[in-house]
Symmetry: C2
Subunit: 357 residues, 2 copies
Amino acid sequence: MSEPILDITQSPHKKAKPDPEHLSFGKVFTDHMLTMEFSRDKGWHSPQIVPYEPVSLDPAAMILHYGQTVFEGLKAYRGADNQILLFRPKKNFERLNRSSDRMSIPPVNEELMLEYLKQLISLEKDWVPAAEGTSLYIRPFIIATEPNLAVAPSYSYTLMIILSPVGSYYPEGIHPVSINVESEYTRAVRGGTGTAKTAGNYSAAYKAQERATEKGHAQVLWLDGVEKKYIEEVGSMNVFFKIKGEVITPELSGSILEGITRTSIIEMLKDWKIPVSERKITMEEIHQAYEEGTLEEAFGTGTAAVISPIGELHWEDKAMVINHRQTGELSRSLYDTLTSIQTGKLEDPYGWTIKID
Amino acid sequence: MSEPILDITQSPHKKAKPDPEHLSFGKVFTDHMLTMEFSRDKGWHSPQIVPYEPVSLDPAAMILHYGQTVFEGLKAYRGADNQILLFRPKKNFERLNRSSDRMSIPPVNEELMLEYLKQLISLEKDWVPAAEGTSLYIRPFIIATEPNLAVAPSYSYTLMIILSPVGSYYPEGIHPVSINVESEYTRAVRGGTGTAKTAGNYSAAYKAQERATEKGHAQVLWLDGVEKKYIEEVGSMNVFFKIKGEVITPELSGSILEGITRTSIIEMLKDWKIPVSERKITMEEIHQAYEEGTLEEAFGTGTAAVISPIGELHWEDKAMVINHRQTGELSRSLYDTLTSIQTGKLEDPYGWTIKID
């Protein structure tokens, strides 16, 4: 069992903070980070906050060879009255443990991790930016550190949490993007690691993303690995379609990541009495709705962008323009409401936000 | 273009060499390693041999988050007259580049890499063990080093080659093992990364391996991710079956690694005038051959074990004992001949081995 007390080593130097008007994503990091070690005999131990600094790994460390690793992504927001808010952080540590289970990594104590995270954010509170659309991105991750080329789970792990002030995903406001439906490359398949937030799923997607970019599209829409027919995700986001007033998102089939924004959107739609269903949906069905003029809106959901409207969908030789390439009414409402809850501008009716003292 | 000259920094301390009679796999490393850097402006540059030491990575280095990495595995053998031999090393660098292409990593100069490797082995020649079945395992790998949480190919990479003296895979000689046919978890699927030697494929297999171990089996036999019907690999090896005098191995379907031992075995069988075919093969066909008494031998092939005979195959509720759990005549001949070529005990009729001066 991990000890509840966190050792803190203050960084002797404080970095200059980046211009809040020109923040990018994930390139600048704060002064401190959290680390914790796992060994077979001690379990998870030695949680501490230390200056942000390079990690030293044996060249044979298993993370560098066999990819045994999991990660999470969430954000801290600065509210109007200067309070700092986290959005459903417990869900991230729960998912971290589900990912770890798939990758044979030992679980962490979720409650304790949340307490540690609060202490880290509290220490770095000046790094949480205030400008519209900005936030402090939080990246917890676990890496296998045992120096051993045997193909087997590691005996030792390091957990780290690093923090990066990030800009608005849409500097000029949210705008619909063009999407390429990928019919050759596969992101994940049932029985694989698609439900886990693990490194290999992400670099596996680069080749298809390159192809989409070459064709002038912003992202890839992924189909299932078995029949290449059912819709799974868009880029590294979950995806939603509004057809004839009903909102549809692919059901968690065993190869789709269970997004926390996805879950929140579903809960909001139910609260708003808008019909929403999680079920299998094919590209054929989307195309038919498009032909019939009933494909009203489409959008991706994720921590980084919150809502990313889809303006065009390119599938084989078919091009579908959705809602005249404009952000739909529902997409806009969901984005405005969810970001307002996240930043405390709107009262949180769901108990999703957690204040940091 | 990389420079042809290799900087060498000698290690001030020489480690004690492990007992050649008690070598394990991949836990002990030699005094030096090779490193080379890639940047967008310089390409691959600064190849050097340095003391074996920890690698320092920014906590945001892309390898730790999105798994953009490839690796290789090959061996150097000490021959009877003390000469050091490499087995088809060019094939490894060719495959490294194919893996890199799939993972959006820039290619290396294969000829130059081989020259660098020869220099490294030459410097570390005293680390190549001489005892029967031992060798120096060579692990080249490339990792994405850019500190950036954006989900995209890295701007910078480090290539490393580390060396580990390894024992015989079979301290008591080769012996057939029991295999569990996995019907839930998937190693790879067409359109995925199964043909690339990349980290994520390996840790993705741990869960199924744990299940096999719990049931008392040594390894997992993987079926295709689409129909869960066609045989793909066994553990992290290619797989061969001998049925009624014919040797069959799954064809390279787009989710199977193109093993260099696999290629060599196929070439040897053709040379020996033994019928060999690369084609789709189902578990149903294997089971039928077993029922008819025509399933004569089965074995895995890979760099680590060379040949790993399969003594038992467990598929759903069916248990198949192959060749009375004994190493088959063909498996034995292939193992003896190939290892004798690799170590220079037998003249190499194929031009596969390369001597290091």
